[in-house]
């Protein structure tokens, strides 16, 4: 550190270009170092947590209630080798994905039309507010009654949750387009279609993306809750079935799988968003 400093200040006198390069290099190493510290800190937290869990379980609290990280890992390895587990994963993924697609497209379409029509928005606002305040999970029994305990019911439950998130964001985005930009496009001879395609949708897209990103975990929540209510497949079913057999290891393993799925979704979405809105981050 100290060496670095003296050498760079010496070279300032002799060669400014070199000094600048060194300063950049120094800044880069410092940044790398702080990044490494963060990673290390995270690993530390994880290790301490798992260590405590492993230590407490069986010593102060019975393994029956708490299970153990080693047991959970063992169980996960066993699951990864079984065909049934992958069917469960596929079921949950399919429910989440379909719920997300249906809910998001309906939310986008309705949000856009209400965002562009003040009359429609004024008419529907109280109904939407009332329906949105309803805990959507309370609809699950009704959906079971209507659609049975198959895939359909989870997809619809997830869709309803996703719909409102995407709807609100699209609506806000579409109704907050700067009036001035619209007027300028109108003097260019822009029709309603031009304004929709070239101004409203692109400018709402930022909001839509926020809506989409926050709604992916909710799609997963909808699907899993549907499974916990009533089903015979999926990760939520796995968690529920394990719990009803007093198999805490199975419950924790199921939760771990859900956490992994949710994190994977997040990574994919972050990538997609970064690519599609380069202009914003600059």
């Amino acid at each position: 550190m100290n060496e670095n400093f003296t050498s760079s200040s010496e070279s300032t006198n002799s060669n400014p270009q070199k000094a600048q390069d060194e300063a950049l290099h120094l800044a880069a190493t410092q940044e790398k170092r702080s990044h490494r510290r963060v990673i290390f800190g995270r690993l530390l937290v994880l290790v301490v947590f798992l260590g405590l869990w492993q230590g407490v379980s069986g010593r102060f609290i019975r393994v029956f209630w708490l299970s153990q990280p080693t047991l959970v890992v063992e169980r996960l390895i066993k699951w990864f080798g079984s065909a049934n587990f992958w069917i469960d994963v596929r079921t949950t993924l399919l429910e989440t994905l379909l719920g997300f697609i249906f809910g998001a497209s309906a939310g986008f379409a309705v949000g856009l039309s209400l965002g562009r029509s003040k009359l429609l928005a004024d008419i529907f606002r109280p109904f939407i507010v009332a329906f949105n305040a309803l805990p959507k999970i309370a609809l699950a029994p009704l959906f079971i009654l209507w659609f049975g305990i198959g895939l359909q019911m989870k997809v619809i439950l997830a869709s309803v949750i996703v719909f409102f998130l995407v709807f609100y964001n699209t609506y806000t985005g579409a109704s907050n387009v700067e009036k001035e930009i619209i007027e300028i496009v109108r003097t260019m001879g822009g029709t309603r279609r031009h304004i929709l395609l070239k101004v409203v949708i692109p400018s709402a897209l930022l909001w839509v993306f926020t809506g989409l990103r926050i709604s992916v975990p909710y799609a997963l929540i909808g699907a899993v809750i549907g499974e916990i209510f009533a089903s015979n497949a999926g990760i939520g079913y796995l968690v529920q079935a394990s719990a009803s057999q007093f198999d805490t290891t199975g419950v924790f393993a199921g939760l771990a799988v859900l956490a992994i799925l949710a994190s994977l979704f997040n990574i994919v979405l972050e990538r997609a968003e970064r690519i599609s809105s380069r202009w914003r981050s600059l």
Partner: protein, 261 residues
């Protein structure tokens, strides 16, 4: 062939919380083809309202606005509009922003790029920035992009609503000069709405001074400063001061009646 603009007995009434507010009193104004007219007046005097009526974005409550010999009924698509905010689309690159009017007018695809390049050259924007996003540019550069977009459709009118007021004073002078150069090559009729009396006098052929609400024309001053004008020094000339003092005396009366006090 450029055309003029004619406001005839134009009034405009807004309703604000159920009450009728007279924004623009009867206004009569004849703007000659290729003329550069600046409108000054206190806040809320209806300057922007006049401009919006000329652009066809607002209908007069009574009276008519004519472009050439045609009355403006719908949106005036022969006009290009520029405002205080550059109103560029942030998700489009510089060249795509400038291209927007061509897309809307359905100009042949193969010729678009060249028209855009020429327009960017006319506003002295370095071609290295053509693929940048507006957020990557300085305020002055964004103004240049907005000007290029203004030019590109070859409109008959430039309607400018305080286009330079957000810039710092030095950049503003440079933009004044460049805008005058552009105007000189295009023969376009210009209405510039501004708070800034100095800007109005140094740029325009005539300055229209408006009263506080309801906005009426107090005076129309011919600015007989010879062209081409030296934007960096014109405000120090004898004649400029004379005009400025006269108009300022007129404006001062209404200063305390603005709505933003």
């Amino acid at each position: 062939m450029s055309i003029g603009l004619h406001f005839q007995d134009v009034t405009r009434v807004f309703t604000k919380r159920g009450r009728a507010v007279e924004a623009v009193g009867p206004v009569n104004l004849e703007i000659r083809p290729s003329e550069f007219v600046a409108i000054v007046g206190p806040s809320g005097c209806g300057k922007s309202t006049l401009l919006n009526m000329a652009a066809g974005l607002l209908k007069p409550t009574s009276g008519t606005v004519q472009a050439g010999d045609k009355q403006i009924t719908g949106v005036n698509v022969r006009a290009a509009y520029m405002t205080q905010h550059d109103s560029l689309l942030p998700w489009r690159t510089v060249e795509k922003n400038v291209m927007l009017p061509l897309e809307i007018r359905n100009t042949e695809k193969s010729s678009r790029q060249k028209i855009v390049d020429d327009a960017l050259k006319m506003v002295n924007l370095d071609s290295a920035f053509a693929r940048s996003y507006p957020s990557e540019l300085s305020g002055g550069m964004r103004k240049r992009v907005a000007m290029a977009r203004l030019l590109i459709a070859q409109p008959d009118f430039f309607f400018m609503d305080e286009p330079f007021s957000a810039l710092d004073p030095q950049i503003r002078l440079i933009m004044h000069k460049e805008f005058l150069d552009l105007w000189a090559t295009t023969n376009t009729t210009v209405i510039l709405v501004t708070h800034d009396l100095q800007e109005a006098i140094s740029l325009a052929d005539r300055v229209v001074v408006m009263s506080g609400r309801p906005g009426r024309i107090l005076d129309i001053a011919e600015i007989d400063l010879p062209r081409p004008r030296d934007m960096m020094n014109i405000q120090f000339t004898e004649r400029f001061r004379e005009i400025y003092t006269n108009l300022w005396d007129l404006m001062r009366i209404d200063l305390y009646r603005g709505e933003n006090l």
